[in-house]
Symmetry: C2
């Protein structure tokens, strides 16, 4: 059976490691290193010396990793644990989609909630600190501008 003509499956263009690096603002070396430590899955089943291949989902996953690392300052070990926990919950959710006891499903959802709230707390901490830095810089700019004006008025 072929797929319905009304919904043509997009060609799912495969990307090479250099393209993925550009799209995510990283380098091939970084991507290989993340694979090496198990932060990214092994890209395509390939023999020794064969090229890695990626799709859009891989790019999205890497973008998320880079963002959490840079914005929240997490180590790769923390990132790994975070992603593994998320993966585990997603897996359980798929299994129990329509079948299991609502009690178990509720527990999973509540775990997710706690997890999201923990990340939100980190984000809000950072935001507060950034806000303070921003305020101080604005003050300094104001003082310098005032001195510039008095300088021009006095000349």
């Amino acid at each position: 059976v072929s797929p319905p003509a009304s919904a043509p499956i997009p060609p799912e263009r495969l990307l090479r490691i250099g393209e993925v690096a550009q799209l995510t603002g990283t380098t091939p070396r970084t991507i290989r290193y993340y694979e090496e430590i198990g932060l990214l899955p092994e890209a395509g089943d390939r023999g020794h010396g064969r090229h890695r291949a990626y799709d859009e989902a891989d790019v999205e996953r890497l973008r998320e990793i880079v963002r959490l690392k840079e914005l929240l300052g997490l180590t790769l070990e923390q990132l790994k644990q975070l992603l593994e926990a998320e993966e585990a919950r997603a897996g359980l959710r798929r299994e129990w989609q329509h079948a299991e006891a609502t009690e178990d499903r509720r527990r999973i959802l509540e775990e997710s909630l706690g997890h999201i709230d923990a990340q939100l707390a980190l984000v809000e901490d950072r935001r507060r600190e950034l806000e303070r830095l921003h305020g101080e810089l604005r003050d300094r700019r104001h003082r310098v501008r005032t001195r510039l004006r008095t300088l021009k008025a006095g000349s």
Copy 2:
């Protein structure tokens, strides 16, 4: 001549490296390393093996370094250049306080302004990215909460 009794000079309590580390959320090793690469001035003139001594101004300087490093993700080399440029301008400003041509003083002030604006741009970039991450996390939390409610309603 002794200082006036009406304005007693505070004892300017000297701090040891461990205290400074605690106050700034770093470690003694980090502080020694920053001194080693020239990011911090050598703490007190001391012979080989003698203890380093710090004051409140040193603590403030280190706090600023840590903050810029963590919030903006700058390397120590970038921090060093940033602080050196700032130091140079402050030095010139002190020298020319009342004496030099207003043209020169204006140039220094305008350099400061450009510098502050560059830092502000970095801060606002980060803030925008943090805002996006925050929004996405809030959306995910909302979806999980909705599913929790429907779960409870259906049971």
